[in-house]
Assembly symmetry: C2
Homo-oligomer: 262 residues x 2
């Protein structure tokens, strides 16, 4: 592990908001690696995917500046935070690394589609910044990040040595387990899954229906498949490389041959 | 082209809102194919990606019901609209097809990451519904959808004959050109690109800065590459198959070998 005199510039963001325990844990975890700039949402932005704020202005507020650490809150989504950082704070020279999280809750399987944590990592990747997202499988606001920080540092060390190729970012999920229970760190693929029973219907005081999004995760992978969700269930730390280019090249070729337009 | 007595159930949504010209054009285009249910956002939801509304309740309002057509507005994002439709309107029997759009503005290249139109198509795909998004390269509210509807029907005919495989949806982009100028329909890959100069900074009446997201698209593909953006620029209609599983399998294998944890 190097010290911050190496001049490495690190951008940190998340989707649980600038005041969450997970981003504080991540900031402390990353301080030995370089100069830290945090730009994170004012409020919780879970489920925001790679959403951008269009049609409504954004604010950027400086919360703290000290040697090797500056913290900003942004009124937008996680992807907005990255764009704001890149345009307003890193316009002359980009950060060397983007780290997003540590999310309160799993971003394995299909959660990766909806995750604001990973939306920010995708946005960093679009800018050509090596990017990684971390998530802990617990929604507890006071979750224990000790094991995540311990293994997170091992992962960052490897990431700096051998980063993913351009246009690909990493999605790391930690089981909510004690350090001694964790069985290892495994590269794997995104699991198949979906949510079911997604809304709780209620009636407001005026007699109209409204709906809260809730839902249960439904795993579509067989239990013996080494997908991210299944591995985390078995107390492994999962790492999935995700692509920005989501073209299905096999289907491009197959449908290109089958669909004939006269 | 079959008539609606075939009993085919079609779900339509978009991200420009239920009152946009693009979704009206799409609804008329799709009526001969089956029974239509529109569930679309009350308000414009451009740039919403696959975002979900968490922590704020949703509303669903019926606007119209007639033979073969019902229209609902939902207070959430495009992906929320699909979830709401699936849970509240299609709980017993899913639609046979999801069609999203016709978007006012291009969703080629990296716009596919941020697009609410495609976020809805992705959400349909998660549910196992064959899904397709249509976009016209014009932000004009009164854009002319004549050519889009003409070629859109040819594409729907092929889609119904030979749909993409499970877990893959299609992203169709139309040039904003007259019917006679369009050179053809081409399967292709998602182009590389990013936005630059993304914010316009202003000062509010109280002396504080605020930021409007604007930006210019910067094409990272060489002009001779047959990416979606380049083909649309050359007056072709582009079709990109996009995957829900965004795992980079090559990097999974490469990094899995390189990263050794002792």
């Amino acid at each position: 592990m190097e010290n911050r005199r190496n001049g490495r510039k690190i951008l940190i963001t998340n989707d649980d908001g600038v005041k969450s325990k997970g981003i504080s844990a991540l900031t402390e975890m990353m301080r030995p690696y370089g100069d830290i700039t945090v730009v994170a949402p004012f409020e919780a932005m879970s489920g925001m995917s790679a959403a951008l704020t269009i049609g409504k202005p954004l604010r950027l507020t400086e919360l703290k500046t000290e040697e090797g650490l500056r913290i900003f809150a942004c009124s937008g989504t996680p992807a907005d935070c990255v764009k704001m950082a890149m345009n307003q704070l890193f316009a002359d020279s980009p950060p060397d690394l983007l780290v997003s999280g540590i999310n309160h809750g799993s971003n394995a399987s299909i959660a990766s589609l909806y995750s604001g944590t990973l939306g920010a990592a995708a946005e960093g990747t679009v800018y050509g910044i090596p990017s990684i997202g971390f998530s802990l499988t617990s929604h507890d606001r006071n979750a224990d990040f000790t094991a995540a920080v311990h293994f997170g540092k091992l992962i960052i060390d490897k990431f700096l040595e051998n980063p993913p190729k351009a246009d690909t970012y990493l999605n790391v999920n930690f089981p909510a387990s004690d350090m001694t229970e964790i069985k290892g760190i495994r590269f794997c693929h995104q699991g198949r899954g979906q949510w079911i029973k997604e809304f709780e219907e209620r009636v407001d005081p005026y007699g109209f229906n409204y709906y809260w999004m809730t839902g249960e995760f439904f795993n579509l992978e067989p239990a013996n498949d080494d997908s991210d969700h299944n591995l985390v269930e078995k107390n492994y730390i999962s790492i999935v490389p995700h692509k920005i280019d989501t073209t299905d090249y096999d289907e491009l070729s197959r449908l290109g041959k089958m669909w004939k337009f006269s």
